[in-house]
Amino acid sequence: MSFLEFVEGPLFAVAAGIFLFGAFWRIVGIIRIGRKKDIAPPKASAAAGFVKGNLRHFLPRGIFAKRTAVHIIAGYGFHLGLFVLVFFGAFHVEFLNERILGFAWPTLPRWGFILASEIAFAGLIVLWVRRISDPVMRLISTPDDHIGSWLTFIMMLSGCFALQESHEMLRAMHMLIVDIWLIYFPFSRLMHAFTFVLSRGNSGATYGRKGMNL
């Protein structure tokens, strides 16, 4: 078994298993914590507040819009760019089709993949640079935040390095880092990819039940 076969085969299976089981475990754990019982009579629907809280946070608050414009653009650029290149990149769809799902869907042309990558890279760099150059962000950032950012960056960079498909080693390195990223994911703040729904929803439900205008 070659190194590439190992990182794309058994190691990937283990990493994906840890990712899925770990993420599920943590989400269930958060939900099981539950919420403190509110004995006050509800003034509005908590469920509507949950949904509204989630949707409202996709847009910046008016008074902060100008101040936060750069990192909001960077945030959207990175997350949407990463989503597009992971799920619509031809290499990724081919891998998922052949190894896991058994079906495929339309993919981006190469120029679209490159463009999405560039937007994602630019966004991630700006977000991390903000983390080190904003005194408040620097203060509240933990090693986990930096490791998550760097691991994601290295994963994307190794994928970019393998774009020419000229050497198996480059693809193997990318897959190795993907495996490490998948294993690290459930134990880190990268989990915000799933937990943001619960976090925003919790705030939205709390305020919604009190009848506050979100």
Partner: protein, 343 residues
Amino acid sequence: MQYLIHMSRKLLWLGALMLLLFAFTAPQLMAQSVRPPGNAVNLDDGTEPGPSNALGDVSDTEIWDQFRGGDPANLLGPALDGQAMTTTGQQWRMVRENLIRKYLGWLPLIVIGLLAVFYLIRGPMRISAGRSGKTIPRFSHNARLAHWFMAAVFIILGLTGLIILLGRPVIAPYLGLQANSILTSAAMQGHNLFGPLFIVALVWLFIKFVRGNFFQLVDLKWIFKLGGFFGSHVSSRQFNFGEKSWFWMVILGGIVISATGILLLFPWLVDDIRWLQLSTIFHALAAVVLIAVAFGHVYVGTIGMEGSIDSMLKGEVDENWAKEHHDLWYEEVTGKSAKEETS
């Protein structure tokens, strides 16, 4: 008589030696000959098909000279009529191999060496009055984002670019051709992908920093006092002459790198290959010069000058640092006199 016998023996030995040498060298000499036997080319006897005198009476060198034509010394010279081959490719290769690759890579190393020597002799430039504990804002958060975004992209492009340029002469001899091939392939993809981000970073940097970076008369004092690096105090506004020069080097060098980079990424934009050949040369030249000077920028911004890094990390600088290095700017933003405060 004995003398004659002695001489005869010597001549016999010499003759035998000559025969032996000829026996060994004759096949090689025959094999190296570019001239086929006369009967192989001049077949005008009607026994075999094909034109007579196929190779003609001119040497290979003359044939290729006629093909090439043109002035080999003129890289930009227009192609002559009837010219089947240009020499610009060879000229470009010679410049790239014998000048760019051979010497340019040393420039960053020389700068690092000079900085190390300077640091050992001069040491870090301390804030002579010590830190006051009071700070004043110097750069906005967006300006810092623009700076660090450019820095990040610059580092990635610099590393990948140096691997592409110097991989063959520097990496291959030590790690092998296969390792160099892998590294170069990776570097090329990374360089091509991050290249367009450099243009974005350059525009952002220009917008955020152009104000205050135009040269002024006060900069002459900075030049005459060698920037204060050798003791004497020198006045300056928000940016001193060194910072302004660096800013314009980045902008102008960045424009050259961006324009040539675009041509190299999209070669079909031009129909003359000489533009692409020139692009590789100017691209490498501007990039390596910027990389070399960037080491100086990093030195002054970190270990070379106490308190400098605060401006880009926190956005604020110590008041005494501002009075010492940017006194006119300090007076402008605080309305206080820098001299009175420090004395």
